[in-house]
């Protein structure tokens, strides 16, 4: 129980440092078990230093930096035991264009390594542009949803899509 959590922690922390660097294009980060020697009672502290900045608690980072760090943590856990499907609902909401670019590159990398199918809900034009296919959801009849296949080239012309 405790030993298994300790081992997982080591693996997640290793993934976390690696993914953080990929998503931020540099910098460093780490996870720390704090407050109790018993890992089953401890708290998880998250420290991060985006490129060129000092190592700080997660709470001192900007909104977008916090979001990107949280995404690193989610994928660090995910990669310990990758599932056949991964569904992300607007995780890129707080990210600027360059961070979205690195986020999408990471998704491609994970697809190559794990063959996971990704379902990605987004309002971000850049994320949409990196998808292999797009489904649009519409509500022409108020209150009733319908699905349409969206031509990737057409996507840029449909301004209501996002």
């Amino acid at each position: 129980g405790r030993q298994r959590l300790k081992n997982s922690f080591e693996l997640v922390n290793k993934n976390f440092k690696n993914l953080f660097k990929k998503l931020f294009g540099g910098g460093d980060a780490e996870l720390k078990l704090v407050g109790d020697d018993d890992p089953l009672k401890a708290g998880l502290e998250i420290l991060a230093s985006p490129p060129g900045k000092k190592m700080q608690l997660l709470s001192l980072l900007s909104g977008g930096e916090q979001a990107l760090t949280a995404i690193s943590l989610i994928f660090s856990v995910f990669l310990c035991n990758p599932a056949p499907i991964c569904i992300l609902d607007e995780v890129d909401a707080a990210l600027d264009d360059s961070n979205v670019g690195r986020f999408c590159n990471l998704l491609d990398k994970i697809v190559d390594e794990t063959e996971t199918y990704f379902l990605i809900v987004t309002h971000h034009r850049l994320t949409m542009a990196k998808m292999n296919r797009l489904f649009g959801v519409t509500m022409e009849q108020k209150g009733i949803s319908r699905l349409v296949s969206v031509d990737l080239e057409q996507a840029n012309k449909i301004k209501d899509i996002a």
């Binding site: 797009l134 209150g143 699905l147």
Partner: protein, 168 residues
């Protein structure tokens, strides 16, 4: 185990039966606010055995049934079906003989949910087990609901450690 498709009928704003084919790589789901994108994500969690109505933004589980719009009356049942490719034979023994596994959950107003695997009625637990074996599931790190990112950022040290426990 590969996901082939999900079919949604009467679930939240998806009054009409709607089938979404699942394929390799990155599939984007786009559309204006309130059009139903997160409802698709919740349909997926629901058919995998999500037992908490609060996780689906509802007060009771009947809240997932189409409750009517200005033009159409409420429905009395909702059904979601997933088709899985099992040619790699990685499913639990009781279903492993099949090349394709169809899992469906149906809820009737005030009568609760029933689950079926290849048309045979099973318990919620059996469905949760199929997904747990592949580290998939309503509460797995693979399903990140809207607002989950903010929640992680705001969470306490103990709540964050719980995120870690899924990897163990």
């Amino acid at each position: 185990m590969k996901f082939k498709s999900i079919r949604i009928s009467g679930f939240k704003s998806f009054l009409e039966p709607t089938e979404i084919n699942l394929d390799e790589g990155l599939t984007g789901i786009v559309g204006p606010n309130g059009c139903g994108k997160s409802n698709i994500v919740e349909a997926m969690k629901w058919v995998m055995g999500e037992s908490s109505a609060r996780q689906m933004r509802g007060e009771g589980m009947d809240d997932v049934i189409f409750s009517g719009s200005n033009e159409r009356p409420a429905r009395n049942f909702a059904e979601v079906t997933i088709k899985l490719d099992n040619t790699e034979k990685k499913a639990p023994a009781s279903f492993n003989q099949f090349d394709e596994i169809e899992i469906s959950r149906k809820i009737e107003r005030e009568k609760g949910s029933t689950y079926r695997v290849n048309s045979k009625q099973v318990r919620a637990r059996d469905v949760q087990l199929i997904f747990a074996d592949t580290a998939t599931g309503a509460r797995s790190s693979g399903i990140v609901s809207q607002g989950r990112i903010s929640q992680i950022i705001e969470s306490s040290l103990e709540e964050r450690r719980i995120i870690l426990e899924e990897a163990a």
